[in-house]
Amino acid sequence: MAIKRYENVDVNDLTFGTNAYGEYTTTITKKFTTRPLVSDVKNSLAITERYRVYQDLIQFTMNYTPWIQDIVINQNLYSITWRAKDWRITDIIEANDRMSVTLMCYRSDPVTKV
């Protein structure tokens, strides 16, 4: 039986900019800590001709609060820190009764050579 657990995560603000060399930069600033239900952790590996591409998926189910609602509205401006890794939001499902929000997040490991 799958066991869903509540685990502490940090919700981060993302700020996008450009550095002196003209490179795009992303600044991650912690906004608050919360405790979602963590479920459906999936790690996947795709082997292309030259690289191994690891991609991890996860679901966080959070209580519906004003701050979480803002994540729903501005999905691109937030990331989640869980197990010391940075997770970006791919899909958001808002419960119809406005009581919870499920965030599906992904994380890409650096590609490794085959």
């Binding site: 502490n8 919700v11 800590t33 004003p66 979480i68």
Partner: protein, 221 residues
Amino acid sequence: MSDTLGQVQYGSTRNPFNYDKFEQINRALTTGWLTLEEITQQLNLFGDESQDDYLSGLELAVRMHIEDYLGMPIFPVSYRSYYGISSIYASPVALDLPQVSYADSYGSGSVVINSVKYYNDDDPVTLTTLASTNYTYDPTGNKLILPNGTPSDINVNVTSPIVIEYTVNPNFLQAYPVIKQAALLLLTHLYNNRSETTLSKLQNIPYGVDALLRPYKPLVM
């Protein structure tokens, strides 16, 4: 008066609980009891402070429910009770206070008599304050005793000529973790269920709010 249960010796006209009516006249409506830290831990919100105002309001409702359920003030509650003419022909006169909490060895839960007033027989009637030397509070019987009886100019035409205002102080039990845990359970229920109706029947968990609070609910006779 044939019912003599609980009467004062030689005071044959005292019924148990001889007040006519009583009303709450003051209660803490803004002071928090559970801390936001306790609440956000319970709801797994942790650092999410965006609902703090809503949670504080919910906490007040929960606290008031626990107070009402146990008949035990968590913060001071003031009452006004009225006594009819049948209560005052006794010697000494004993006036029951309808809502009290027991005082513990820490001094909490005690009753403070704020005023004892009576309607005199002037025309028009005047609400007159009785000097505090004319009455004494009996904590063992939760009643106010007027050793010298009622004032001679009390109005016998007014339905409830004696009015007592008193405050019940917070009870020590409010600091018990088991009572706070019951409050957190109730708060979680109200947080998760914001509608009067649901499509499916909800079930109580074992050892829930009622089970946690039951040992502390005084037997009311």
